[in-house]
Symmetry: C5
Subunit: 373 residues, 5 copies
C-alpha cells in the first residue's frame, strides 16, 4: 500500500542486482495474508476464511463440483505464496510478479492457466490521497485466485452479486469472474476521475474568483495524478485487448463480448483523462496569462503615477532652489529667479502643474492605457 | 441533454461500481420517451405516434411489407426500453449503451442487426451554448430504430425527403436511412463550425482593434469547443470507416458509396477543426506577444520620463540645499555655494538642465527607443 | 474564386442540412462556364470554344478517332453540369464534388472512369494574395474533362506542348494529360513557395535590421500560408500515391512512372514547407527573445540611472531641510545641521555625492551590467 | 570508459573517413585486456585468468565437455581481439562493433552464433558521475564471450550464482548466461534510476524551501541524464524483443520466457524514466512560474511604495518652493503661498498627506494587491 | 555548389511551370564536367581523365573484362549528360534528377540498373560554412557512374583502397563500390557532427561564462544546421533500408551485410543529431531562464534601493517645507513645524531615517530578497 506521491519516487524494483529470476521477495511493510475461499456453482455459494493454505485444501475437499475463487488480501508471507504456487503448479516468474507490486497491467498466458494484473486506484477516506495498489489474478480451469495488497474491499458488490446470483456470475466460469473483478476495478477509476473532475471545477472557479500562486502547484499536482491515471489505464486497455484476441479456451466468446464492453469503458476513461489534462493545461495557461496581465496592470499604475508626478516634482524643485535675489551689497542679481517675486506667481505655477498633469492624463487616455489590455 | 461546459466535468459513468453488465439505468432528468413509427415502401409512408410499445405493435400489424423506422425521442423509461429490447431481441449491452448517454461514436455488429451511435452537436437557440447529445441507431432486416435524448428535431429534412420520396430514400433499405440520419448529423457539425468560424472572425477583429484580456479567456473557450468537436468527429470517422469495411449484408454496396461520401465530409470537418485550432493558437500567441509589447512600451515610457527628469530634479535639489553663505559672525564661508550668488546663475542652471534633457533624448533616439520594437 | 484569408473562415459546406446526396448546388458568385474542347491525335489538334453543351456534341461528331479534352472554366451553371453528367454517365456524387469547391485533393475510381481533384494555388497579380481554387478532372477511355473555378489559365504551357506535340502528350492517352495538368499545378506550388521564401528572406533581414512588432504579425501570416500549403500538398501526395497504386486500366505503367516523379515533387514541396515553417518559428522565437532582451536593456538603463541618482537626491534633500540654527532667543540650537555652517561644506558634499555615484557605477560594472546579456 | 557529460559531445565514430569496413581501431586510452575463462557444467566450474589468447586455448584443451564463458575486460589490444576473431571465426564487422564503443544496444544473428551489445550504466563511487560503457557478447554453441570496456565488475552476483549453481545457470546453456548478464545490466539501471529519483526528491524539496537559479541548471542536468537513460533503454527493449522473436536455435523457449521477463523490466524502466522526465519538466515549469511570481511581488512592492510616496513628496515639494511673500518694497505679493502663513497649516498638510496615503492603500486593498496572485 | 544558408531559401525547382518531364535543365553556375574513368578487376586498375564522352568510349574499348567506375565531377553540360544517357540507355527522368540538384536521398530501381542519390555534407575549409551538394549514382551490371556537383574530392580514400586493393573493393562488384562511396559520404557526416559538437561545447561554456544575446542567434543557427542534417540523414536511412530490402540481382547478400552496417551508422548519426538538438534546446531554455533571472535581479536592485530611499527623501522633503514660524506681526503661528526648532531635532531626524532604512532592509532580508531566486 503506497501513497500516490511516494509511489512516484520509489520505482526501485524489489530484489537485488543479479538476483536469479523467479525469486519471491516480500517488502518489509507488507500485510499478513488473509485468505477467503468462495466455492460456487449454480445451486450454492460456500465460503470460508483463514490465513494458511489449509483453508484452501479443506474447501477443495469439501466442494468437488464447484468453481473456486481464492481471494488473498495481503502479500506478507513468502512461504505461503510459494506453497500455493507449488500446490497449483504456477511458474515462479508469476509468483515474483505477484509479490513485486510495481507491475504494469498485463496478460500472460501459460500452459493451462493465464495470469493478469491490474492496478487498483482508490481514494483515501479523507479523499486527499490516491492509493495505487496491485491486483493480480490467476485463472485456471475451475479456479480463480486473486491477490490484493491490502484488506479494504472494493469487491463487495461482486460478492453480493455472487451471493444473490445476479446475472451470469455463477454459471459463466472463472474467466467471467475475472472479468467481473476487472470491470469493478475500472469502475473505481470513474469514481477517482469524478473526484478529480470536481477538484478541477473548484480550481477553475478559484482561477476566476481569487487566483493565487497555489493554482500553479495544484494544477501541477492534478496533472501528475492524471498522468498516473493514464499510465495505468493505457496498459489496462492493452491488457483487455490481449484478452479479447487471446485464443485461450478459458476465455469463452460470451466473456469476450463482456470484455469488449470493458474495453469501451477503458477508451472512455482515457478520453476523460485527456479532456481533464487539456483542462488542466488550459487552467495553467490562463493563470500564466493572468500573471502577465497583472504585471502589466501593476506597471501601468506605477508608470502613470510616476510619469505624472515626476515633472510636477521637478517644477516644485526648480522653485525650491535658493538662487539669491540680492548679492552681499544688496544689489539685485539680474535674472536670478524673478518668477519668485512675480504677482500671482504661485497660483500660476500651480495652474501650470495642473495643466501638465491633465495633458499627460490625456495622452495616456489617447493611448488607451485606461481601458485596454 | 447536457450543456457543453457541464458535460466536460461530468464524465461519471451512469451506474454504480460493481453493477452487473447490461443493466439499464436512466438518469433522473431524462425526458419521457415519445415514439413515432414511419412505415414506408415505394408506394406510401404510414406514420403514427404514441408513448408506449403498443404503437409499434399496431404499426407492425398494419404494415406488413414496409420498412419501419421507429424514432424514439427521450430515454426516461427503463421499462419501455427493456420491453423494446425483448420484442426485437436486442443484446442487453446494447440497451445499456443506448441509455448511458456518454458513448463515443461506434459501430458494433451483432447477429442479425448492427448498432451504431453518433453525437448530435447543436447550437442552442441563443447560439451561446453547444448541446452534445447521443444518437443511437439499431438496424435490422426491414427495421431501423433511432434513439435521441431530447424532443427537438434535427431530422425534419430527412422526414420531408421521405414524404416527398426524394432520391433513393424509400427504396434503398434501412441502412440507407441510417446513412441519411448520420449524414444529417454530420451536416449539423458544419453549422456549428460555421458559428465557431464567425466567432473566431470576431475574435481576430477584436485582437487588432481593442485587445483586452477577455481574448485569452475566449480563445481558451473556443479551443475547448474545438477539442470537443474533434473528440466527436474523430471516432465518427472511424465508425463510418468501420461501416464501409463491414461485410454485414445489411450494408449494400450502394450504401457504402454514400458512406464514402460521408467519410469525406468527416475528413473535411477534421480539416476545418484543425485550421480553427491553429487560428486559435495563433490568436493566443499574437495576444501574448501584444501583452509583451505593451509591457515594453509602458516600460519605455516610464524609463524615458524617469531618466530625463531624475538628473534634472537632482540639480534642482543641489541648488535647494541650505549651505550657509555666512557664519555667525557674518564672515563669508569659503566655497559654500557661490553659484547661488553668481550673475545669471539661474538661467544658466535652467539652460544646463535643458541641455542634459536634450542630450538624453538624443541618446534614446540614437538607441532607436522612439521608433523600434 | 476565394481569397486566402476568406477561405480560412468559410468552410461551410455548400447545401443545406439534410440535403439528399448528389445534389448540385452552385454558389451565387460562381462564374458562367466557358467550354473549350481540344480533340487531338498523333496527327492533329482540333479545338473549338463555346458556352453550352452543343460545342461538345459538335466536336464529338467531327472528331471520331481523337482523344478529347473538355476544359470547363467557371462552374456557375448547374443545368449545364448536370447535362454533361447525363451525357457522359457520371455519378451525381461526382457532380456534387465538382461544384462544392472545398474538396481536398482526392482520387476516386468509378466503373469506366476515374475522378480526381487538386487545389490550384496561385499568387494574385500584385503578389499580395494567394488564391486557392479547385481543379477537378474526370478521365474516361478517350476523354478527359477538367473543371476550374475561374478563367485565368495556368495551363497555357500544356496547351503549347499539345500544339507543338512535345513529348508523349498527344499519344500517351488521357491519363497522361491528367498527369500533365496535375504536374503543372504542382509546379505552381514551387512558384508560390519561392515567393514565400523571398518574403521570409525579407522578414529575416528586417529582424536583424529594424525589428518591430509587425514581424510577429507577418510571421503568423506566413505560418498560416504555409499551413494552408501543407494542408493542400499532404493530400495531394496521398492522391498521387493512390493513383500509382490503382489498378485502373486507364493508368498505364508509363503514366505511373511519370506519377512517381510527381510524387517526388510533392515530397520535395513538403520538405520545403517544413523548412519554411521551421524558419518562421525560429524568426518568431528570435523576435520574442529580442523583445525580452530589449526589456532587459530598458530596465537596466532605468535601474542604473535611478539607483545612482536616488541616494544623491536624498543627500541634497537632507541639506535642503530647514532645521533652525537658532531659537527664538537667538541661542544656537545644539546639533542642528552644523554641517551647513562648516567651511568647504558644499564642495565636500559634492565630492561625497561624486564618490557615491562612482561607487555605484563600479558595483554595476563589477556585476557586468555594462557589457552582458 | 567515458564520463556522462563528455560522452554527449564525443560521438565521433572511431576510424577515418573512407576506412574499409571491419577495421578494428582501438582508442588510445583503452585499457589492456584481462581475460577470465569460466568453464562450467552441471558438476563443476573451472576458471583461469590471463592476458593473452593462450589462457583460452589451455582452458579449451582442459575442459572438453563444458560450456565456456570467456570474459574480456578492457579492449586495448587490437591484435588480441583479431586473433580471437580468427580463432572463433567471427565476422570482422562484429570485431569493429566490439571495439568501436559507441554502439546502440542491438542483436545481430550470424551463421552459427549471435552478437549483441548492451550499455552498462553505472554510478561512480562518489555518485556524482554516470559512466556509460559498452558491453558486447557473442554466443556460440557452447561458448559465450563477453567484452567490457573496464575492469570493475558488475557481474559478481552472476559469478556467485554460477559458483553456487543457483537456479538454471549451469544447465540452461550459453544463451541463458547471456540473459543473466543482460538482466544484471538492466538491474543496474534501477539502481541509477533510484539515485536519480532521490536527486529529484531533493530538487523538489529545494524548490519549495529555498528556490534559486541552480534549480534550473540541475533540472536540465537531470533531464539530460534521463534522456541518456531513455536513449539506452529504448533500443535495449528492441534488442530483447528481437531476441524473443528470433528463431535462432541458440535461444531456447525456456530462455525466451526469461527474456520476456527482462522485456517487462525494460518497459518498467521506460515508464519510470518517463515519470521522472515529467517530474523534471514540472519542476522546471513550477520554478519558472515562481520566478514570474517573484517578479510580480517585487514589482508590487515597488509600485505600492512608489505610488504612495510620490504624491506626498510632491506636496512637500510644493511647500518647499521659495515663492516670496513680500516684494522688495515690503508689500505683500498677492496670492503667493498664503498657506505657509495660515494657522495650523503644517498639521493640516500632514493630515492631508496621511489621508492621501490611506486612500491609496485603500485603493490597492480593494484591487486585491495585498492578498492576490 | 550552394552555401548552407542560401540553400534554405532557394528551393525553387529547376525548370519552368509546365515543362515536359525528363527535361535536363542546367543551372547557370554549374561547373563544367570532368570525367574520370576507373576500370578495375582483381588484377589491375586502369584510369583515364577527360571532359567529353570519348574518354568513356576509349576506356570501354580498352578494358573489356573490367568493372568501370565513371566519375563525373560538375554537371554544367546538358548535352554531355544526355549523350551519356543515350549511350547507357538511362531513363530521361533519371537524367532530370541528376541535374536538378535538390533531390532527397532516394533509391529507384529500373530495368537492368538502379539509381540512387545522396547528399554530401561538407565543411568549408574555414569551417564556417556547410556545403550541401548532391551525389547521384547509377549502377549497372559491370558499371557504376557517379555524379557530383563540384570538383573537390571526398572519395580519395576510396580511390586509395581501390589502388591498394584493400578489402573486397575490386572483387565485390559495382554495388559494393556504390556502398563504399555512400559509406564514405556517411563518414563525412560524423566529421560535420563533430564540428557542430565542438561548437555546442563552446556555446555551453559561453553560456556559463559570459552569456550575451548572441547565444540565442548562435543556438538558432546550430539548430537549423541540425535540422538540415536530420533532413538529409532521415531519407538516407530510408534509402539504405530500401536497398537492403531490394531484390535487385545487382545487390548481392554480401553487399547487403555491409549496407546493414551503413544502416547502423545512419541510426547512430540520427541519435547524435537528436542529442545535439536536445542540448541546443536546453541551452536556449537555460539562456532564457538566465535572462529572466537577470531581469529579476535588476528589478530587485531597483526596488530595494528605491523603496529604502523614497520614504527617507519624503522625510527630508517634509522638513524642507517653508511653513512660516511667525506671521507678519511676528507672532508665532501655532503648530507650524515646531520640530524645526527643537533641540537635537536634526540628529533625531537622521536617526529616524536610519531606523526606517534598517527596518526596510530587515523586511527584505526576512523575505529572502538578499539570497534567493
Amino acid at each position: 500500500m503506497s501513497k500516490n506521491k511516494r509511489s512516484r519516487f520509489k520505482h526501485k524494483r524489489m530484489g537485488e542486482v543479479g538476483d536469479a529470476p523467479g525469486m519471491v521477495r516480500i517488502p518489509d511493510d507488507a500485510l499478513k495474508p488473509k485468505i477467503t475461499v468462495y466455492s460456487y456453482n449454480e445451486a450454492e455459494v460456500v465460503s470460508s476464511k483463514g490465513d494458511d493454505i489449509g483453508v484452501i485444501l479443506d474447501q477443495f475437499a469439501k466442494c468437488k463440483n464447484h468453481t473456486h475463487w481464492i481471494k488473498v488480501n495481503g502479500l506478507g508471507d513468502a512461504a505461503l505464496i510459494e506453497k500455493m504456487g507449488e500446490l497449483l503448479k504456477i511458474n515462479p516468474l508469476v509468483l515474483e510478479d505477484i509479490t513485486n507490486t510495481h507491475q504494469r497491467p498485463k496478460f500472460d498466458e501459460y500452459e493451462g492457466y493465464f495470469f493478469a494484473t491490474s492496478r487498483i486506484i482508490e481514494l483515501s477516506a479523507a479523499q486527499d490521497e490516491i492509493f495505487n495498489t496491485q491486483f493480480s489474478v490467476i485463472v485456471k480451469d475451475d479456479l480463480i485466485i486473486s491477490f490484493q495488497e491490502h484488506y479494504n474491499d472494493c469487491f463487495e458488490a461482486v460478492i453480493n452479486r455472487l451471493n444473490l446470483s445476479k446475472g451470469a456470475i455463477r454459471t459463466a466460469g472463472p474467466a467471467y469472474m475475472c472479468y467481473a473483478l476487472m470491470d469493478t476495478i475500472i469502475d473505481t477509476y470513474f469514481v477517482v476521475l469524478a473526484d478529480i473532475g470536481e477538484s478541477l471545477d473548484t480550481l477553475e472557479d478559484r482561477l476566476y474568483e481569487s487566483a493565487d500562486k497555489t493554482i500553479m502547484y495544484d494544477s501541477q499536482h492534478m496533472k501528475r495524478e492524471l498522468i498516473m491515471m493514464r499510465k495505468v489505464s493505457w496498459p489496462e486497455r492493452d491488457k483487455i485487448n490481449d484478452m479479447i484476441r487471446s485464443d485461450s479456451p478459458l476465455i469463452t466468446p460470451e466473456v469476450k463480448t463482456y470484455l469488449r464492453d470493458a474495453y469501451d469503458h477503458c477508451i472512455h476513461i482515457m478520453d476523460v483523462i485527456d479532456s481533464y489534462k487539456e483542462i488542466t493545461t488550459s487552467i495553467m495557461d490562463l493563470y500564466l496569462s493572468m500573471v502577465s496581465n497583472r504585471m502589466n496592470e501593476i506597471m501601468k499604475v506605477l508608470t502613470i503615477i510616476s510619469v505624472i508626478f515626476i515633472p510636477l516634482t521637478f517644477i516644485a524643485g526648480i522653485y525650491g532652489m535658493n538662487f539669491a535675489r540680492q548679492d552681499d551689497k544688496g544689489h539685485i542679481i539680474p535674472d536670478n529667479m524673478p518668477e519668485l517675486y512675480m504677482h500671482h506667481a504661485y497660483p500660476i505655477a500651480l495652474a501650470a502643474m495642473l495643466l501638465i498633469a491633465a495633458g499627460l492624463v490625456f495622452i495616456f487616455w489617447r493611448k488607451g492605457w485606461f481601458n485596454r489590455l
